[in-house]
């Protein structure tokens, strides 16, 4: 039996919130689009509401910090959780302090600096919020913690378990990835579920990779386009966690399984898990960016990165944007910035076509 559907003021139908999430997850995976469509929209809407509550109350973003970074330099603070879980932990390095003996602390400090640098130099953005937000990061979170996340206010890095994952501060693109979640939160605020969630993830991979490329001074053809290279422990069969160049090929391991990312819409994965596959289907927009950037050549942050940044921060991208909405806006942004029928316009249009996302 399908639960009652309801229509909210002319919008597409969604399921009432009384439908439990596990059932919604199941419905969202239904083969019948009449069932799966409303269920997916409900999940997106609910996560959006949760996100809004999170932003306004739980993490108190409304109360802007009194301290601001100067216009052209970051204001970084690194904390050590001492393998516990209280945040932020003990302050171990402030802005301008000399490097200490802990390599993890020094890597986090340098990674925050590299991220600040790319957004400022390439796009004129002053920190994560565009207004000099201090950059805080906690390292050595929990014991054997194989993860890193952005909690709405700061970055958090685990040491890894040493068997599958090493220290999460090792790849600079992972640091850039987490900080870009902050940029997205302050701009398009893409809902962390389904396609908007996969776009949110893709933004973090795109700018995370660009931060690495900018740091190394690489062109699009020189870059490895990997996310998390150097993070897998010796013995794990894989080169990284994701590949923008060849999604689905980053690892194939007894313990980890196989990289599940699709490169095109043909292999789009419908699932309720991982917030509706945000880390899986991000392979599609990731690959579109790679295709556009390599077609244009040169430094990827200059043209392709600028176009993606224009859309992320331009105010037209909806919180619930689907791949085709985002793709259409990038084509428009390429045309507006670089001219109708120009190389940039053509490269972006063609890239989305190659991954099977239709643009209007």
């Amino acid at each position: 039996m399908v639960p009652d559907m309801t229509t909210h003021g002319g919008h597409e139908p969604v399921f009432c919130t009384v439908v439990p999430p596990h059932l919604l997850d199941k419905l969202a995976r239904s083969d019948d689009p009449a069932v799966s469509g409303p269920a997916r929209r409900t999940l997106v809407r609910d996560s959006e509401l949760r996100g809004r509550r999170r932003v306004t109350s739980e993490f108190r973003l409304a109360a802007a910090p009194a301290v601001r970074a100067p216009s052209d330099r970051p204001l970084r603070t690194i904390y050590d959780a001492g393998n516990r879980t209280e945040l932020p932990g003990t302050k171990v390095r402030g802005e301008g302090d000399e490097p200490g003996r802990d390599a993890t602390v020094n890597r986090a400090y340098a990674g925050l600096g590299a991220t600040f640098e790319l957004f400022l130099k390439a796009y004129g953005r002053r920190s994560i919020d565009g207004d000099g937000l201090p950059l805080d990061a906690t390292v050595h979170y929990d014991e054997n913690y194989g993860n890193a996340f952005w909690n709405g206010e700061q970055m958090v890095f685990g040491d890894g378990d040493g068997e599958v994952f090493l220290d999460f501060t090792l790849p600079v693109d992972v640091i850039g990835h987490e900080l870009t979640h902050g940029v997205t939160q302050y701009t398009a605020n893409l809902t962390y579920y389904g396609q908007p969630g996969a776009l949110n993830e893709s933004m973090s991979d795109v700018f995370g990779s660009l931060i690495k490329q900018y740091t190394l001074g690489q062109t699009a053809s020189e870059a490895d386009w990997l996310i998390g290279a150097g993070l897998l422990a010796p013995g794990v069969t894989g080169v990284a966690l994701r590949s923008m160049k060849a999604p689905g090929t980053a690892y194939d391991d007894d313990v980890l399984g196989k990289d599940p990312q699709p490169a095109t819409m043909e292999d789009y994965v419908r699932t309720g898990r991982d917030n509706g596959g945000v880390h899986i289907n991000s392979g599609i927009p990731n690959h579109a960016f790679y295709l556009a950037a390599t077609a244009l050549g040169g430094h990827a942050w200059e043209k392709a990165g600028q176009i993606w940044y224009d859309v992320l921060t331009g105010g037209e991208l909806s919180e619930r944007a689907l791949f085709r909405d985002f793709a259409t806006l990038t084509v428009k942004a390429a045309r507006e910035r670089y001219g109708d029928g120009g190389d940039e316009h053509e490269a972006v249009r063609k890239a989305w076509g190659q991954v099977g996302v239709r643009t209007r």
Partner: protein
Amino acid sequence: MRIQVRRTGGFAGIERYAEIDTAGRPDADEWQALAERALAAGQATRPAGVPDGFGYEITVDGRTVHASDPRLPDDLRALVTRVLKEGA
């Protein structure tokens, strides 16, 4: 007592699952007490998480509770860590 743990999401997006049956274990009482505390600390539906944060689903004899990083109650953390380490 059957304890199942499913951890989803995370930066890698790789799911992990493990379960443990306490029957016949010398430390069954300890497991049972920890499982009861964990059930009490969890939520009926999945609470809001953060980007790349882990989501947790803990099932004890058919009863399921949820939690999300970074707000994982201590008893749940202890249970999740033990099951993922010692379970199969």
